[in-house]
C-alpha cells in the first residue's frame, strides 16, 4: 500500500480556478487529463464513462462525460450548468468551476468566475485568438480574477510549432493590455497527448516554462488581505440564554478583508457608532487576531446597536451611500428596465433597489460600449446607476470582492436575476 504523509496533507493551500473554452477547444479533455493524471479519477468512474462512451458510439473514451453529469447534458453533448470538480496533489487542493463556454451561457461563466482565484483560458492553436477568447477574458477581468493562464491547446495539430504559439501569445497580449490583466501566463500544450499538462513535453524543447500542473501548484494564492483594513459583515447575533454566558453578545460573521485584532477600534456601518473589539472567538477558543476569510464571533466593549446586515469595519473606512454605480450581468428572461424594483442582497445586508439609469451596455465580443439602451436582456453586461431604500456600506469591487458585490432578486419570483460589481458612488 502506498504510504501517505498524513500530517503533510493537513496544511495544504486551496486554489479555486475556473476554465473557459468551448467543447471544441478540448476543455473537458484537459480537465479529464488533470483529474486522471493526479489520480483523482477512480476505476468505477472510468468504467462508467467507458460504458457511456460506447453507448454513445464513441470509440475513444470521452472524458467530457466525467464532467457532464445531467441526463440532458449527456444526451445533447453540452454542458448546461457550472460543475464543480475536485483534485489534490500533495501541495494543494484544487476546486475547478467548470463552465460552459457557449455564448448563451455567460451567466454560468460569471457564476464560476465569481469565486475563482485563477482562470484557465483555452485557445485552439489552429484557430488562435477568437471572439470567444475576448469574451472569456473580459469576464475574467470583470470578475476580478487575479491570474489568467492562457493554454494554447492542440499543439500536436500544428506540429508543435513555436511560431504558432508566439503569434497567439503576441495577439493575446494586446487583449491583456486592453483589459488590464496584470498576471498572464502562456503555455503550449496538448491535452489529448498530455504534453505540458502534468509532465513536460519532449516535443517542444523550445518551451522552458512550467507545466500546467506545476503552475497551478505554485502560483501564489493571494486572499487579498489588506492589512490596513478589516471588514466583518454581521451575519448572526449570538445571545445564549444561560447563566454561564449571561452577558455574552457575539456578532458572528466571516472576515471579508484584512486582519482583526483584539483591542482594535471598529465602527458600525452604516450607523457610524464606535467601539473596540473586546474579544474574538472561534468556537471555544479566544484569539488575539483573525484573518480573512475566517469565520469568527466578535464581542464589543460597548453596548452598541448591531444587527445582521451591519458592517463592522476598522482602518480605512468603507463607503456608505444610497446611490451607486455598478457593472451588472443580467441573468433572466424577464428584462431589466429602469424603474423596476428589486431586492438587493449585498454582503449580509438586504434592501430594495431601483435601477435609475442604464449608462451603457458592453458588447462582450468587441468590448465596445453601446449607450441609449432602454432595457437589459439575458446575458447583457452593463454599467448602471442604482438607488437603494437603505444605505449600503461597501468597498469598490476592485478592492474587495465580498463587500463590493451584490445580487438582484426578483420580488415576484424570488429568482436571482442579476449580479453586480460596485464601482463607487
Amino acid at each position: 500500500m502506498e504510504k501517505t504523509d498524513t500530517s503533510g496533507y493537513l496544511d495544504m493551500e486551496l486554489l479555486r480556478f475556473t476554465t473557459a473554452g468551448s467543447v471544441d477547444d478540448g476543455k473537458s479533455t484537459l480537465i479529464g487529463r488533470l483529474l486522471y493524471d493526479s489520480k483523482s479519477i477512480f476505476e468505477d468512474q472510468l468504467e462508467a464513462v467507458e460504458i457511456a462512451s460506447r453507448r454513445g458510439g464513441n470509440d475513444e473514451v470521452n472524458l467530457a462525460l466525467l464532467t457532464d453529469g445531467l441526463r440532458s447534458e449527456r444526451e445533447q453533448g453540452i454542458t448546461i450548468d457550472v460543475a464543480y470538480r475536485y483534485f489534490a496533489t500533495p501541495r494543494r487542493k484544487f476546486i475547478i468551476a467548470d463552465t460552459p463556454g457557449h455564448v448563451q451561457y455567460t451567466r454560468n461563466m460569471v457564476t464560476g468566475a465569481s469565486t475563482a482565484d485563477l482562470a484557465i483560458i483555452l485557445i485552439d492553436a489552429r484557430n488562435g485568438v477568437l471572439e470567444q477568447t475576448l469574451r472569456h477574458s473580459y469576464i475574467a477581468a470583470l470578475l476580478g480574477i487575479q491570474h489568467v493562464v492562457v493554454c494554447v491547446n492542440k499543439m500536436d495539430l500544428v506540429d508543435f510549432s513555436r511560431e504558432v504559439f508566439e503569434e497567439t501569445r503576441a495577439r493575446y497580449l494586446d487583449i491583456a493590455a486592453k483589459l488590464r490583466l496584470d498576471s498572464v501566463t502562456f503555455l503550449p500544450l496538448s491535452a489529448k497527448l498530455g504534453d505540458n499538462v502534468v509532465s513536460a513535453s519532449t516535443r517542444m524543447p523550445w518551451y522552458a516554462g512550467p507545466t500546467l500542473m506545476e503552475l497551478l501548484e505554485t502560483i501564489p494564492v493571494n486572499h487579498r488581505v489588506n492589512e490596513q483594513e478589516s471588514r466583518l459583515p454581521v451575519q448572526y447575533v449570538i445571545r445564549p440564554i444561560s447563566d454561564k454566558f449571561h452577558d455574552f453578545r457575539g456578532y458572528s460573521g466571516r472576515l471579508a478583508g484584512g486582519v482583526l485584532k483584539k483591542g482594535d477600534p471598529v465602527t458600525v456601518y452604516p450607523s457610524g457608532q464606535r467601539s473596540t473589539v473586546a474579544a474574538i472567538t472561534r468556537h471555544d477558543q479566544e484569539l488575539d487576531e483573525a484573518f480573512a476569510p475566517e469565520s469568527i464571533t466578535v464581542q464589543l466593549a460597548d453596548d452598541v446597536d448591531v444587527s445582521r446586515g451591519d458592517l463592522l469595519a476598522g482602518g480605512e473606512p468603507p463607503l456608505v451611500a444610497r446611490e451607486i454605480t455598478l457593472m451588472i450581468c443580467w441573468f433572466n428572461e424577464r428584462p431589466l428596465r429602469p424603474g423596476n424594483r428589486y431586492i438587493i442582497m449585498q454582503a449580509t445586508r438586504e434592501t430594495i433597489g431601483v435601477v435609475t439609469a442604464i449608462l451603457h451596455v458592453v458588447n462582450v465580443n468587441t468590448l465596445e460600449s453601446e449607450s441609449g439602451k432602454e432595457s437589459l436582456q439575458i446575458n447583457d453586461i452593463a454599467r448602471v446607476a442604482l438607488k437603494t431604500a437603505k444605505p449600503l456600506a461597501f468597498d469598490p469591487y476592485a478592492k474587495n470582492r465580498v463587500t463590493g458585490s451584490l445580487i438582484f432578486v426578483d420580488p415576484d419570483t424570488f429568482e436571482t436575476v442579476g449580479g453586480g460589481m460596485i464601482e463607487g458612488v
Partner: protein, 299 residues
C-alpha cells in the same frame, strides 16, 4: 501574507453557510443519518453557534434497517450536544400505506426514504433541510448549489437552478417551498477524514475494522443482517471489514480493511482506486440513478 489551510478555509465556508441558514430561515433542520458527513456537519453546527446550542433540531430518517452502532452513536451525540432529535420512520410510512416496500433479493428501503423525508418536512413545516451531501460524491451532485431550491412538491429542477455568485445565498421562496442546504459542498471524502482527524471527532465504531458476518453479491460485500435475504448459493462468511460510507444496511457495501485508526483510514483512502459511492448499490441502478432520486426530493 497570511493564508488559511484548506481545512480552515473549508470549515470557515461551511460555518458561514450554516449561519446564513440560521439567519435566513424560520424552521431549519439538520438531516442526520449517522454517516460521517452528517456527523461532520453537526460538529460544524456546534462550532458555528457556540456558546449557543445548535439552533435547529436533527432529523433522522430511519429506514428500520440501521446498524445498531449508528443508532447508539446518534443517541449519545444528541445527549452530549443537548440537541433535539426527530425521527421519521420509514416503517411507519410502510404501515400507513404511504409507500410500498420493494420485494426481491435486492429490495432496499433507500428510495422509500424520500416520502418519509418529504412528509416530515411538511409535518414540521421545515423551510430548510441542511444535509451533508458533497459535490465530489456523484456527478449529479456536482451541479448542486449550496442553497438549493425545492418546489412545493419537494422537487429539484436541475436545469433551472438559481445562479449562485460569490457567497451571497438567496434563500427566498414562496410558502410551501423549501430549500436543501449543503454546507460541505466543496469537501472531498479526503477532506472529511482529515478534518475528523484534525478535530478529533469521535466516530461510530463501524467505520473502523471489525469482524462481521458478510456475504458477497454483485462485486461487493454486504452485511448479513436479518433484513437481508440470501440468494441460493450465497454464503455467510466472517470477514474483517469496515464501512466506508454508511446508509441503510441494504445498500451499504463493506470494505475489506484492517484500518483501526483515523491515520490508517486516511492512508487507505489515499491509496484506493474506487470512489466511496462505488460501494453503494443505490447508485448502481442506472447511470442517472442519483439525478432521478434527487429530482423527486431525495437527500
Amino acid at each position: 501574507m497570511h493564508t488559511l489551510t484548506h481545512l480552515n478555509e473549508l470549515e470557515s465556508e461551511a460555518i458561514y453557510v450554516l449561519r446564513e441558514v440560521a439567519a435566513q430561515f424560520e424552521r431549519p433542520v439538520i438531516l442526520f443519518s449517522g454517516g460521517k458527513d452528517s456527523i461532520v456537519l453537526t460538529h460544524l453546527a456546534h462550532k458555528a453557534f457556540y456558546p449557543l446550542r445548535i439552533p435547529f433540531p436533527l432529523l433522522h430518517i430511519d429506514t428500520g434497517h440501521n446498524f445498531q452502532e449508528t443508532l447508539d452513536y446518534r443517541d449519545a451525540l444528541v445527549e452530549r450536544l443537548g440537541a433535539t432529535l426527530i425521527v421519521g420512520s420509514v416503517q411507519e410510512s410502510i404501515d400507513t400505506g404511504r409507500v410500498k416496500e420493494e420485494t426481491g433479493y435486492n429490495a432496499s428501503r433507500n428510495k422509500l426514504q424520500t416520502t418519509t423525508l418529504l412528509d416530515a418536512i411538511e409535518k414540521y413545516k421545515f423551510d430548510a433541510a441542511v444535509g451533508g451531501a458533497r459535490r465530489d460524491e456523484e456527478k449529479a451532485r456536482a451541479k448542486e448549489r449550496f442553497f438549493s431550491h425545492r418546489d412545493e412538491f419537494g422537487q429539484w429542477d436541475p436545469k433551472n437552478q438559481r445562479p449562485e455568485l460569490w457567497n451571497i445565498f438567496n434563500g427566498k421562496k414562496n410558502i410551501g417551498e423549501h430549500f436543501r442546504v449543503f454546507p460541505i459542498s466543496n469537501w472531498t471524502e479526503m477532506d472529511v477524514w482529515q478534518y475528523i482527524y484534525k478535530e478529533g471527532v469521535e466516530m461510530p465504531s463501524i467505520y473502523f475494522t471489525h469482524e462481521r458476518d458478510a456475504f458477497f453479491r454483485d462485486g461487493q460485500w454486504l452485511a448479513a443482517e436479518p433484513c437481508m435475504k440470501l440468494k441460493p448459493g450465497e454464503t455467510v462468511e466472517r470477514k474483517q471489514v469496515r464501512c466506508r460510507t454508511i446508509g441503510d444496511i441494504s445498500c451499504t457495501g463493506l470494505t475489506l480493511s484492517r484500518a483501526t485508526s483515523l491515520e490508517e483510514i486516511i492512508d487507505e483512502i489515499a491509496a484506493t482506486r474506487v470512489t466511496e459511492r462505488g460501494g453503494r448499490a443505490d447508485d448502481k441502478r442506472s447511470e442517472t440513478a442519483m439525478e432521478d432520486r434527487k429530482i423527486s426530493g431525495y437527500f
